[in-house]
Symmetry: C2
Subunit: 419 residues, 2 copies
Amino acid sequence: MSEGLRRSWVESANDAEADFPLNNLPCGVFSTGGGAPRCGVAIGEMILDVAAAEAEGLILLEGGPLLGQGAWNPLMAAGPAAWDALRARLTELLAEGAAEAARLEPLLVPMDGARMHLPFAVAEFTDFYAGRHHAQNVGTMFRGPENALPPNWLSIPIGYNGRASSVVVSGTPVRRPWGQVKGPDEALPRFAPCARFDIELELGAVVGQPSDGPVTVAEADAMIFGYVLLNDWSARDVQAWEYQPLGPFQAKATATSIGPWIVTRAALEPFRTEAPERSRELLPYLREPGPMLYDIALSVELAPEGAAGEVIARTNARELYYSAAQQLAHHTVSGCPMRVGDLLGSGTISGATRDARGSLLELSWGGAEPIAVAGTTRAFVADHDRLTLRGHAQGAGYRVGFGACEGTVLPALSDPYAR
Amino acid sequence: MSEGLRRSWVESANDAEADFPLNNLPCGVFSTGGGAPRCGVAIGEMILDVAAAEAEGLILLEGGPLLGQGAWNPLMAAGPAAWDALRARLTELLAEGAAEAARLEPLLVPMDGARMHLPFAVAEFTDFYAGRHHAQNVGTMFRGPENALPPNWLSIPIGYNGRASSVVVSGTPVRRPWGQVKGPDEALPRFAPCARFDIELELGAVVGQPSDGPVTVAEADAMIFGYVLLNDWSARDVQAWEYQPLGPFQAKATATSIGPWIVTRAALEPFRTEAPERSRELLPYLREPGPMLYDIALSVELAPEGAAGEVIARTNARELYYSAAQQLAHHTVSGCPMRVGDLLGSGTISGATRDARGSLLELSWGGAEPIAVAGTTRAFVADHDRLTLRGHAQGAGYRVGFGACEGTVLPALSDPYAR
């Protein structure tokens, strides 16, 4: 399936456990010492300042400069030929024995000392619900095992529009929200801090090309620039009270954290994998011309304040029932225009086993069965918990990693209306 | 309640039936003869090219120029002091007897010959469900009269995120979409052109200031720059099959038409009116410090191809149960950041009587009772129908109007995947 490690003159990139070997070349935006955010590409433990490399003429892109704006949107807008040209040139520049190594070396910044920013300007954010185990688990809790999967679930990649303004980069603290909540035994709702604050382990697809009418699954796949880790923070008590009849709203609007690195579709090509068997034949517009899922190992780590983190879930992106390409195709079926920078969350990715569940709602079975973690227990996230998503595709002697998508929970404000 | 007509040297603005007297001064973006879109303000039957007026020094705004970019976002971002300064200056410049009339006259463009564009760049679009009669009607059709209003409806201004990329300006044709549909007697869904294409008569609130945490209703009100007519085109058959459990998605993504003119909050001040009596006491964060609804007469006109239009519904914006200020306050309660250019749809505005219903779904009672219009009948919209929303607030001897929000339905494509 996959080729071997491509060796780089950046030594830390040649470690078999490194997230960012030459095979990867993910796209981020970084700054150092309070400077302006700049486009960078991860290589080993370093970031190559590609904005500087372009400015110095080491990278030449048609229609450029494309890398000088502190966001990857201009490169994405330039289209697949530009994506391929950049990847080819970086592969050349960073390969072992590259003639330009000496000129590039001063443009490498240690990842340790860099601050990461949102890698792209998020145009709009859509969140899907494409994990079958997740839908089955949540449905069983809310409607019983007989009615767990909604009738449309096997026909439609169910999704809803989220809030782009609430997307934040890994490392941004997340404040526990207030909201309207009503317990099953309460007659009226209360206004209170969320008591069931949760995470959702997802993969986000970054739309790199626009569309203006229905697109096929193959065309949709070609529009995707790359993927990021995505944690869709969820206020479960708020969600339970608000979501009928028009879907989740404020329960999902506090924050959605994304990883700092867009792993390009090109880097993931060796890891494509078939969709699971279809329980119901899909309508033709949703059928896949080839493997559209990816074999990406995923994990969730929870670290209580002052304690070491512990992995609370391990799963894989191949557990999804619908691919991002299918979701994007479905997104356009009404004629809905898609734009460069649109972000599509996969939906929570859970596996078949208990320790493969991508949300605390599932791990603790609605809070009824708290899990043991780092010497304590958790039904939902506690204040000061640090949650970290990680993911990588495993090649022969190398991996294509996503880095970490991390967020620490801050306590709710005592009075959200105090200024 | 309201002052009288403010007279202008632009004669057509002094007609008691004119939508755009000096009292109004709504904000649009226009072009002529294939030129670039420019900010303009409607006065009578003319548009004042305010971009040119600013460029010529007739309008001076702190931090300006603010009107040269073909969208009202820069002026909105400049804040309420700039909004007030512009309104005061335009009132002065266009008043009867104004010294600058001769210099301004060349900057007037006949509305007839201008093409209108989206008046602002829509950041994100949220659609609410705040019309009680509408919620009651739709709920009765779907769940019976006992369970018509969802349990949370009297406590929460229910809303869901829509798709900003699908917002179009009045005059843009709207193509009947394809989608997944499944009749109650069908075992499996089909992929078909929408057979129950509908309109929704709404008012849209334009958010003119950002927020970064929960805001009060009073603060939310102050963030609103103005209001537009809004038609949320809806594919009812698609919606029925897709909307459980996460809300409407592709059914609402084909297009949302907005009127070309933002009627400012300042122009609507004389028409504020109290909210209806509350059936359930609202939580403190949703209580209104004063009247937040507006007395705005609204109508829907349907014109079959080649026929004269006929009004099929008349209602009023005071029928809403929740104001835009309450909706915006609720939108921020989770900490969701709001941005300049966010658009909030009110939800369909229906009155108590049959001829006051703001959607064909309600007018034809789910299609069961087609209505007579222009010598034919309609359950839902037919191809080539032209739908026009209108609205105005009635003052003493003048009105503050919204102009028309119009869209013509094009037939579905024979093959949506043909290129």
